[in-house]
Amino acid sequence: MPVQYVSIVEEHLATRQAAGLFDVSHMGRLLVEGPAAIDWLEGLLTRRVADLAVGRARYTLVTGVDSTAEETTAPPVILDDAVVTRLADADDGTPRLLLVVNASNASRVIRWLESQLPARGVRLTDRTAATAMIAVQGPLVFGSGGLLQQVCTADTAAMLAALPVYGAVETTVANTPAVVSRTGYTGEDGIELVVDADAALPVWQQLLTAGRDRGGRPCGLGSRDTLRLEAGMPLYGHELTELTDPAAIGLGRAVQGEGRSFPGVAELAARREAGGRQRVGLQFAAKRAARQGDPILLPGADQACGEVTSGSFSPTLGCGIAMAMVEPAVAAVGTELEATVRGSRLPARVVPLPFYRRPRGAS
């Protein structure tokens, strides 16, 4: 995936106004199968898996011990965030689940999961290289004349249009078997689809062709980042790290700790108890934004009260925006702050998250 095909801003606006196509095949795709697959994941993920119905997906954190940690007795940390999807059971009734993880964390997540495999009952397969993943996002994905209507049969398009958010189904898109889920990382409605790697190119080309005349575009990593930032979505390595308190960055609901025993359940509870810096949205007066690592200060102060985790020009708002971790005392909406950006201090105001919410009623 390139940073940009043409322009980050053009690709960003195309996704907001029409449709953006993202080749996210770099993300890790792990298939978990077997009679004990559900129980096994229930014991490992921060979200419940035991009550996950066929055709439903959940956003979750993956906690565990980083096998590259110096001490083998190191406490569990947040290794990644992920989406777990319960696929249709195999013909013999065996559960099948798909776990999509970040590319940057895939190898250590796989190492961790492999170290936790029981002697029997669960098979873990890395399907990353054998499959491709395409995110199709924006108001032109669904609806009359939308991309899906053009590349699916009428029945399939109608079935996908009825798919709830975080619903998933195995069907045929662009004449190709695909796992389709109503998920995304842009703040727009849309789908993500997983197809066999051999079939990916024609699927991509059909989707491109279907959107081309109405503003659909291929989009790169740059616009993927500005879109998720406007939507207030955390990114591992930025807002979310090994030692994050999930509730402090708006991910409290990604942790279902009560009565459960996933790795790190006690550590996460202790972090919540300890409190500390919390995530805020910052809006800058001008186009320029602070970036990750830039300090946040009160006007006139010389002691930092926070740090930027992600920042960029916002194509939708036309000004700089950022997410930052700040002391609770300066986290209230409306607080005037400053960011030090390569020597100059940029004024910024704490604003509600997300920065962008798609218009109600829009598909």
Binding site: V3, Q4, S7, V9, G222, P315
Partner: protein, 128 residues
């Protein structure tokens, strides 16, 4: 006919004017490659710049880039309208999109820069 331009490998252009001052800007190729510009920081008039060293910066949605002086000397003019109208850089990179004017310490330094043919070759190899 325009006066000939010389180019730094870092994509700034320099043009010796009749009054002995050197006008400096950013090549059309570089502006095109930067895309989505959001901010530009320029030196003050009177500042001293050194060939090959940063005299300002330009920021796009994608990244922050330094601007490097193609020639040493004193800054005698700054295009103050530019930071508020960054699209001028792309619309007219060799005219109203000029960035600074330098009174050169040694005008002979221009000869060390790439001429148009050599720069076109550099850009051709970068874009392929």
């Amino acid at each position: 006919m325009d006066k000939p331009r010389r180019y730094a490998k870092s994509h700034e252009w320099a043009r010796l004017e009749d009054d002995g001052v050197v006008t400096v800007g950013i090549s059309a190729y570089a502006v095109e490659a930067l895309t989505d510009l959001v901010f530009m920081q320029l030196p003050e008039v009177g500042a001293t710049v050194t060939a090959g060293e940063s005299f300002g910066e330009i920021e796009s949605v994608k990244a922050v880039s330094d601007l490097y002086a193609p020639i040493s000397g004193e800054v005698v003019a700054v295009n103050a309208e530019l930071p508020g109208k960054l699209e001028t850089l792309g619309d007219d990179p060799y005219g109203s999109g000029w960035v600074i004017k330098i009174k050169p310490a040694d005008v002979g330094q221009l000869e060390t820069l790439l001429d148009q043919t050599a720069y076109d070759t550099l850009v051709g190899s970068e874009s392929h």
